[in-house]
């Protein structure tokens, strides 16, 4: 089945220690998204790629970076995680302007 996969599902890191979350898709969608979601809130878009074009949201901290080496994979790098970065991170994919399909998420804990 075509799907969006996120690894790892749970990530524990230490304050200030870099961490990378990964997302892959078999849907062959040209748009990939990273969202941050804190409890009981709507997902907050961090950035997205339309093909190789990177689009950063204005309020996304510089601490968050992303890479998309090919159509199938996209990575979220958090350079120096703070306690406030503990959250669920959701990856999604879509065709432009169409339905977004989400992965299962990575729950990040910062100690």
């Amino acid at each position: 089945d075509a799907m969006v996969i996120q690894n790892p599902r749970y990530q524990v890191t230490q304050f200030g220690k870099p961490v990378t979350l990964s997302c892959s898709q078999t849907l062959n969608h040209n748009v990939m998204y990273w969202y941050q979601q804190k409890s009981s809130q709507a997902p907050k878009l961090l950035f997205h790629y339309y093909d190789k074009d990177f689009n950063n949201e204005a309020d996304t901290p510089d601490n968050f970076q992303s890479r998309r080496p090919n159509t199938s994979f996209c990575f979220l790098d958090i350079r120096s995680p703070g306690l406030g970065d503990a959250a669920m991170y959701l990856c999604a994919t879509s065709r432009r302007g169409r339905t977004q399909y989400f992965g299962p998420g990575t729950r990040l804990l910062v100690l």
């Binding site: 998204y33 669920m88 169409r98 339905t99 977004q100 299962p104 998420g105």
Partner: protein, 114 residues
């Protein structure tokens, strides 16, 4: 401004009953898609139903249907024969034109009781 409003933070329903979740939105665009997503305790965001704004016919997916009122900018979700597995947070959202951004509402937490 493009906004989505879900005025019911929490709702509850008894198993096998019907419940309607409200959603209103604001946009000046004419071409857009509307969605309801479900997020159970596992936190996986699951597409429940979608509606193309140019279609007058209300979308239906098994027990889930929408009441789409374009002029009123209203997009409510009706869940018939509620099941315990319907317990989740429900988000209303839309995307317009050729933009890539999904505009979310604040969500409605639905609890289904036996």
């Amino acid at each position: 401004a493009q906004t989505v409003t879900q005025s019911q933070p929490e709702m509850s329903v008894q198993e096998a009953e019907t419940v309607t979740l409200s959603c209103t939105y604001d946009t000046s665009e004419n071409n857009y898609y509307l969605f309801w997503y479900k997020q159970p305790p596992s936190r996986q965001m699951i597409l429940v139903i979608r509606q193309e704004a140019y279609k007058q016919q209300n979308a239906t997916e098994n027990r889930f249907s929408v009441n789409f009122q374009k002029a009123a900018k209203s997009f409510s979700l009706k869940i018939s024969d509620s099941q315990l597995g319907d317990t989740a947070m429900y988000f209303c959202a839309f995307v317009f034109g050729n933009t890539d951004k999904l505009i979310f509402g604040t969500g409605t937490r639905l609890q289904v009781f036996p």
